[in-house]
Amino acid sequence: MSSVKGYAKLNSRKIDNAIYGIAYGEEGALRDLYDMTDVAIYAYALTFTKNVYDAQDVMQDTYIKVYDAAPSYVSQGKPMSWIMRIVKNLCYDKLRQNERNVNADDSILERQLFATDADVTDKLVVLGCLQTLDSDECKIIVMHAVGGIKHREIAAELDIPLNTVLSKYRRALKKMQYVLEGGQS
């Protein structure tokens, strides 16, 4: 299994440095950014597209957008929020192109996920997250647990009150604990 760059391990300063590095043409900067953010970007894209291949396309396009935007990037200390906004916009584009809404047939996602090489538990956890949680809960848990984004920033990004974010987060965690303890997926 590849290393996990999940909860609270994403360091804003390092991500900022990587983005500036890309702007300056520093060798290895793009790789650094990719290694730090790929899981969060892919997971967040999945919460919108519910489709493995679309999420993969969005992931690829996100890095190209970041690369293009890097020279004019101004750090506000929240690079993941900035990147997640790019992901969200690309997902909306993708959904519009496909004329498909977020409630696409869940069985497609199941088949796509089960075609990957990952451990079956991991597939069930991802499915549980995408199918058991409601749309906001899923985004909130991915942004915080995988993207390391603070609840306060999530509230601003999703335009919902901080208290709602916190209660949805707690509820989502409870549901996921149930999934993890073998309740259901």
Partner: protein, 482 residues
């Protein structure tokens, strides 16, 4: 499984299923040569230095500029209020030029010609013009003075300019507040200034505020939009090293409700008849939060430490935190009973009534420390507290339960009331406590009412119910549980 473990497992699982698209990305992102201007390479500096030297040599030869003479810029003083102007000085502190750094600055300078004037005269005229155009007033009395000069000259220039500003404002019965700093044109400040069209001095001040505050508290966009007086009000609450900048006078909060009104609003939010005499360690400082200027009122009352945020414009309460005013005791672990007693102490529940309090307790382990989440109602109030195994109160809140003073319902009573209501629907007539499963009960404040949100599953159905605490009414919806 703890919350932390759950979070880690979710991150780990997404990591396991993610694809690797790095090669595709890299093939579309060719390495570029540096395109940002903030970083200058060593070679860049050498070329720039050489070019500057060449210009100076040419200037000397053709006599346009005499090095160290009366036309050479020896220092510059930038005045920022919202209008921003820069005064360039020769070594005799005579004005070479006054340049506007923004549109307002242009209006302030107007047709005035300062060439050859003394620094004091220029400052007097410029500050006078700002007063006349109401850019400086009793409600906005702050001036940022940024000086670009050698260190010995810096102190003297700051003195001259500050004194002049004080004299002029005093004539209008205004007490000035001058923030002065030694200007260092760093890459960061220059880029910020260029990007937002502000002076390098203001950019440097914003950078200092960002460096001295909790990371992520302010954004550049927010601070750029503020006037110097508002930045000065924020500076009051920060710990900026004295060698970085100095402040004289007090920034005016005349555009806002004022500290007294903020304290009064904060006290009223706790109790109508609470007075300052009953408080300890009262402090009130101005801050900026989520796009609003606020007063942060802190005090200790009745063993609790309060932090209340008051909107500085209209006195509404925008945030409140309450914590016990104790320090972490010796690391002795308390029993669950002791934790419950502590919660009841905090809620002022008399010993005689304690047995009748129905308390729900959830236990979680965070970083190896057991945390108790306690919820209970007493005397018309609903309490929620988080207390760790050492007795430290991590959070506590209380709110009025609309109209009722009865004790909280037990989980079994809630389930029973909900089932009674559900069973009235003929489809679910046979539902029983023992056959219903996967209960989730949460107390919420919704639509102005205290309610229990109850979920459970029964016979292939999933039920979402709301129990209104004051009326006992239950509404529910049932969906096929797939």
């Amino acid at each position: 499984m703890t919350n932390k473990q759950t979070e880690n497992k979710i991150a780990e699982s997404f990591s396991a299923v993610k694809p690797d698209v790095y090669n595709e990305v890299a093939s579309q992102c060719p390495e570029r040569t540096a395109v940002r201007t903030q970083k200058t390479t060593a070679w860049g500096w050498k070329i720039a230095t050489f070019a500057l030297a060449l210009i100076l040599v040419v200037a000397v030869i053709f006599g346009g500029v005499t090095l160290g003479g009366t036309n050479a810029i020896a220092a510059s003083v930038t005045l920022d209020v919202n209008p921003s102007v820069a005064i360039r000085l020769n070594k005799n502190r005579r004005v070479i030029s006054v340049d506007a750094l923004n549109l307002d600055g242009k209006k302030i300078i107007g047709n005035m010609d300062f060439k050859g004037a003394q620094l004091e005269v220029a400052v007097n005229a410029l500050i006078g013009s700002m007063l006349r155009s109401n850019k400086l007033s009793a409600d906005a009395n702050s001036v940022l003075v940024s000086v670009d000069a050698n260190q010995s000259e810096y102190d003297q220039l700051v003195n001259i300019v500050s004194q002049e500003i004080n004299i002029i404002l005093q004539e209008s019965q205004i007490e000035a507040s001058v923030v002065s700093q030694w200007l260092r044109e760093t890459d960061d400040a220059s880029a910020l200034a260029a990007e937002y069209g502000i002076s390098v001095g203001k950019a440097q001040l914003i950078n200092k505020i960002l460096q001295s505050s909790v990371q992520g508290k302010y954004t550049v966009e927010q601070l750029v939009s503020l006037k110097i007086n508002e930045l000065n009000l924020i500076l009051d609450g920060l710990d900026v090293p004295q060698n970085e900048l100095s402040q004289s006078g007090t920034a005016s909060d005349g555009s806002y409700i004022g500290k007294d009104a903020a304290i009064a609003a904060a006290l009223k939010s706790i109790s109508d008849d609470l007075t300052e005499n009953e408080l300890q360690r009262l402090s009130c400082k101005m801050d900026f939060d989520d796009g609003f200027m606020i007063y942060e009122v802190e005090f200790v009352y009745n063993g609790w430490r309060y932090e209340i945020e008051v909107n500085a414009l209209d006195g509404t309460i925008v945030g409140m935190e309450r914590d016990t005013d104790d320090v972490r005791p010796q690391q002795s672990t308390l029993s669950r009973d002791q934790i419950e007693e502590k919660a009841l102490d905090l809620a002022d529940v008399p010993q005689a009534d304690r047995d009748s309090v129905n308390m729900t307790v959830e236990v979680d382990v965070d970083h190896g420390v057991t945390e108790y989440e306690l919820k209970f109602a007493y005397n018309g109030k609903y309490f929620e507290m988080e207390i760790d195994q050492y007795g430290i109160v991590l959070s506590a809140s209380q709110r009025d339960i609309g109209g009722t003073t009865q004790s909280d319902l037990s989980y079994d009573q809630i389930k029973q009331k909900v089932l009674e209501a559900v069973a009235k629907d003929s489809r679910f007539a046979s539902v029983t406590l023992s056959s219903a499963r996967e209960w989730e009960i949460e107390r919420e404040y919704k639509y102005g009412k205290q309610v229990y949100e109850v979920e459970f599953k029964w016979n292939g159905y999933e039920f979402d119910c709301v129990l209104d605490i004051s009326t006992g009414n239950v509404t529910f919806k049932a969906e096929i549980d797939d």
